[in-house]
Homo-oligomer: 174 residues x 2
DNA sequence: CTTTACTTTCGGTTCCTACTGAAAGGACGG
DNA sequence: CCGTCCTTTCAGTAGGAACCGAAAGTAAAG
């Protein structure tokens, strides 16, 4: 994996670029792409060389990927260095990512909305209208949460099926 | 709406903060929050004052919200200024956002993966493994796209129902 | 046609995040 | 217990996005 094929380069660059659009650090995303394509675990040193980034940068990035649970360290006999490998199950990977994203992007707002609705003083000017708006918004966040909670308890395969089913449901929408 | 209640302030600040986590500009998100809570359309000037941001900043932000289709200008009799109001249907709003997000975050990768799989030279070193990885990844992106395409053709109410159904499906997963 | 009210564009500044290189911090082998 | 190998931490820097205020642009009113 020391030498990258044109295709691998393209994939890694693209993934890095997309990462930024998903709010993920470019280097982090690139490292993930590299590890995902690599048949064997790689030491940090090699990652740094292959991607031409500072060794320290690799360290912090790997750390983030580890916390997210999509990269882990493995040990190779006769080598003192840590080697890193990416999770290969794509569906499971995105399940993780989505769960984390929900925690960061959905839950806080859902709670804020609940609190707001509880705190809302009916005597306040325009309380009527405000309540209406907040409730509409809260409805959405509650629904998303509910759906997510059900899905996360299912194994990967089932989720895949569920998506397929949802796709078919179009035909008899009633 | 010139004077904000504590609750409204809280909502606007929170929404702005969340915006940054969703990759949306803080000011843009705040303006949206303000308009969403406002019973009547507001002129840019008033938005700027209420949020304490530069008038020009409001201009560009409003523009972005307009392009996304979640804010529009309306005219008030006897007033030369443009007044802006937010879309109030939350579900429709997120449908828009998700669609745009998909265009930016899913489609390009899906295409890249297709191209890569087409270009993949079987004689290349490790082509076997690379193909396997790419295919797994592509499978996910194709599934997401398929699901989205079906959903976007449905009216808001149906999507809401669909989500509810998905939630129930847990009980008989077969 | 000119004035006035309003909006947008644009160059410069500020702020924030990502990245580097150097130094400090483990841990293993001898 | 010292030296070596590897990893992490940290302060400083560079690059980019957001924001401001001034200037230019547009359109309605008189």
């Amino acid at each position: 994996m020391a030498e990258l094929t044109a295709l691998q380069k393209q994939y890694i660059l693209h993934w890095g670029e997309m990462g930024t659009r998903w709010g993920i650090n470019r280097t982090v995303a690139q490292i993930h792409a590299l590890l995902y394509l690599s048949p064997k675990a790689l030491p940090a040193e090699e990652i740094a060389e292959t991607l031409s980034v500072a060794r320290s940068n690799v360290s912090t990035s790997i750390r983030e990927l580890e916390t997210r649970g999509i990269v882990r360290a493995v040990h190779v006999l006769g080598d003192r260095r840590e080697h890193y490998e990416s999770m290969k199950d794509v569906w499971e990977m995105f399940r993780l990512v989505i769960e984390q994203r929900k925690r960061r992007e959905i839950d806080p707002t859902r709670e804020m909305l609940r609190r707001s609705l509880a705190d809302l003083d009916p005597k306040e000017a325009g309380a009527e209208y405000t309540r209406e708006r907040l409730q509409a918004m809260a409805g959405f966040f509650e629904a998303v949460t509910e759906l997510h909670d059900h899905m996360k308890s299912l194994p990967t395969g089932t989720v895949r099926k569920l998506l397929k089913m949802g796709a078919k449901m179009k035909r008899k929408p009633s």
